[in-house]
Amino acid sequence: MHRLYLIPTLLINVAIIFIPAALTIALAFCRWDGMGIPVFVGLANFRQLLADRVFWMALGNNVIWTAIFLTVPIAMGLLAATMMLVARRGSAFFQVIYFLPMVIATAITARVWQGMIYSPLTGIAGLITRAGFPVPNPLTQTSTALYGIAVVDLWHWWGFLCVIFFAALRQVPQEQIEAARIEGASFWQMLRYVLLPGIRPTITLMMIMTIIWSFLVFDFVYILTQGGPAFSSEVLSTLAYRSAFYDLAVGKAAAVAVVISLFGLATTAVYIRLQAKEFDQ
């Protein structure tokens, strides 16, 4: 009888996760323009992807993106959270300030950076340039476009990690912190030997989620550069979007989506193994 309680969630999962996922996987083996009847083409879409240099550029950009987001915002978040823990005064205020970018809609954040900061016409970059110190718009250079977008996403994202880490740090037993203080531990020693080990599960989860989210990144890239200039900031999700909605090649887009999912799946498998190990201990 108690198994009946599973039915509502099971139905929701089947309807909004399993069926679309199964359809996407099936479409990856078809040629479809999004309007007519799909035609089965076997592995042709995947073969096309392997031969497509833009796909490899996009995959490379996703890897760079993941590397950036696995290090910079996590380091910034940890540092700020630890400092808030040590110096409690004003921590509530700083939490709000750090978290604020997270509650602003992505589209607004992106447009603010594009128009008010990076733009050579209406932005701060333009103001500095007119003052005699040329500052190029990073979104317009092939060598910096991806990093220009990453800065915007970092600004929006790191505060969230900071608040999460701060919440986790507050759960570290006070006795351990006090003991370390009495023993004369420095700030870095406290961080290295007491605080970080204390919140390791949270850091691991955030790193796993960062990898998954990094392969799903779309909004900031699409709004700020649409993958350009010259594909320099193309990522897998913008490639999939362009294939599906501009090239009318939904099969190819589904194949890209399957590749994205494989990365997510692999990361999730690692996380589950790590969790299982922790339970065993």
């Binding site: 040629r31 323009d33 999004g34 309007m35 007519g36 009847i37 594009q114 990076y118 733009s119 050579p120 016409l121 718009n137 979104l139 317009t140 092939t142 649409q226 993958g227 350009g228 200039p229 010259a230 594909f231 320099s232 362009r242 909605f245 501009y246 090239d247 009318l248 090649a249």
Partner: protein, 439 residues
């Protein structure tokens, strides 16, 4: 509040969205989904299109629903599920064939015959809307590319509007020396702006005959005339004709740059006429427009023909007659005059005879003259081909994105054209190339 009051109140509130239809809709509903439109443009649609149509057709009640820039995606999903509006607004002829092939559109031949579209609409456009011999779409607007210029800047520097490619290049070089950006241009808001310049190069340098042959598959896109055209376009980029901020400027920003005298020329489409009054303000006559000069041997400027959106009727429409009446209304001289008086460049319906059209005196005469020139060029079969109208979707995407790689030194002209040709041949084999009327 007790539970009964709450339920009654909730029921009442939930009925509010339907009240307008119940209370005010006298006729049978006709639905039309539209892309994004600025408040002033929505006002023009409400007054001229919806108000005008409903007043002229009391049996029908037209409603326009704004779906934003994602209209075509929403439309495809809706049609796929057998829903959607009565009037189907597509993003261009390349979208019509797949929809028609999937049986999502109604053949319009009977309406064209009954309502006289065959006599009123320029024949070329009826050909473009055909799939498998049947008419499925008519253009909502058609446009061309040319060269806007700032008369004051030209006069101040002793320059004159170019009539040949050599004159245009000489003027651009002079502008560079004068620390001006020769071409007001940019693609920050819409990457597709790239294709305006490739289209200009293909038509005004390679020539429309060669473009026609390539579209028909008689010559490849790697043929010498196209190599010369893209080489020239790349030369212009490398010399700095497009300026240092191309990837940062949005459409209205670069138009404002031209109006402010920072650029003498703006090569782009006739839809820019809508910005003249906003940016030139009281000096609207200071904005000039000429056909983009052609290379030696091509003669007069080539007017590349573009159709940015089309109108069809959904196969699942509950009111196809009402939808046909709405489309018919759009093809009336009265509507053309009233709409183009308040909003230029987006409702240039392909009427064969513009003599009955009356446009407000406040609209620059240049607009009407340009549209007349374009209509004559189309009528005389002397027109070129815009990429967004005549290329299949993936080829067009490659054309737009690939040119940035050429400009930024990440690809060669030969590789760019080879990839363009490979994509085109594949889509051609899949039957995705839109109809190309015979010359």
């Amino acid at each position: 509040m007790d539970r009964r009051t709450f339920l009654a109140g909730s029921l009442g509130v939930s009925l509010v969205p339907f009240m307008s239809r119940l209370a005010f809709a006298a006729g049978k509903p006709v639905t039309w989904w539209y892309e994004s439109a600025a408040p002033a443009q929505q006002e023009a649609i409400a007054k001229v299109l919806v108000g005008g149509f409903n007043a002229a057709h009391p049996d029908y009640s037209l409603t326009v629903d704004y779906r934003g820039s994602e209209l075509d995606k929403q439309m495809r999903v809706a049609l796929l599920s057998g829903n959607g509006p009565d009037v189907v607004y597509t993003a261009g002829p390349s979208y019509v064939a797949p929809m028609a092939r999937a049986g999502q559109l109604l053949a319009l031949d009977d309406y064209a015959e009954k309502l006289g579209w065959n006599k009123r609409i320029l024949p070329v456009f009826l050909e473009m809307g055909k799939y498998d011999g049947k008419l499925y779409a008519v253009p909502k607007t058609y446009e061309t590319l040319g060269l806007f210029y700032n008369k004051a800047v030209l006069e101040k520097n002793g320059w004159k509007a170019p009539t040949t490619l050599a004159e245009m290049e000489a003027l651009a070089d002079e502008a560079l020396k004068a620390k001006l950006v020769p071409f007001a241009s940019g693609n920050a808001g819409w990457r597709g702006n790239n294709e305006h310049y490739v289209t200009i190069a293909f038509n005004s340098i390679a020539g429309p005959e060669n473009v026609y042959k390539a579209l028909k598959g008689e010559i490849p896109w790697t043929a010498e005339p196209f190599v010369a055209a893209i080489n020239k376009l790349n030369d212009w980029w490398q010399k700095g004709y497009f300026g240092p901020d191309y990837f940062s400027l949005e459409t209205e920003q670069f138009f404002a740059q031209m109006a402010a005298g920072k650029s003498p020329m703006l090569p782009s489409g006739t839809w820019h006429f809508q910005y003249i009054q906003s940016y030139f303000k009281d000096n609207a006559d200071q904005c000039g427009f000429v056909g983009f000069p052609s290379a030696d041997g091509l003669g007069a400027p080539v007017y590349a023909l573009g159709v940015g959106s089309t109108l069809s009727i959904a196969a699942a429409s509950q009111n196809p007659d009402g939808a046909a009446a709405a489309i018919d209304y759009v093809f009336s001289p009265e509507f053309y005059g009233a709409m183009n008086s308040v909003w230029q460049g987006e409702w240039n319906t392909p009427l064969e005879d513009l003599s009955m059209v009356k446009i407000s005196d406040t609209v620059p005469a240049l607009y009407a003259e340009t549209m007349k020139t374009l209509a004559d060029a189309v009528g005389d079969n002397k027109y070129g081909y815009t990429s967004w109208t005549f290329l299949p979707p993936a080829t067009d995407t490659q054309l737009i994105n690939g040119i940035e790689e050429v400009w930024l030194g990440r690809s060669t002209v030969a590789d760019y054209l080879a990839q363009l040709d490979a994509t085109f041949q594949q889509e051609k084999a899949e039957g995705k190339v839109p109809a190309v009327p015979a010359r």
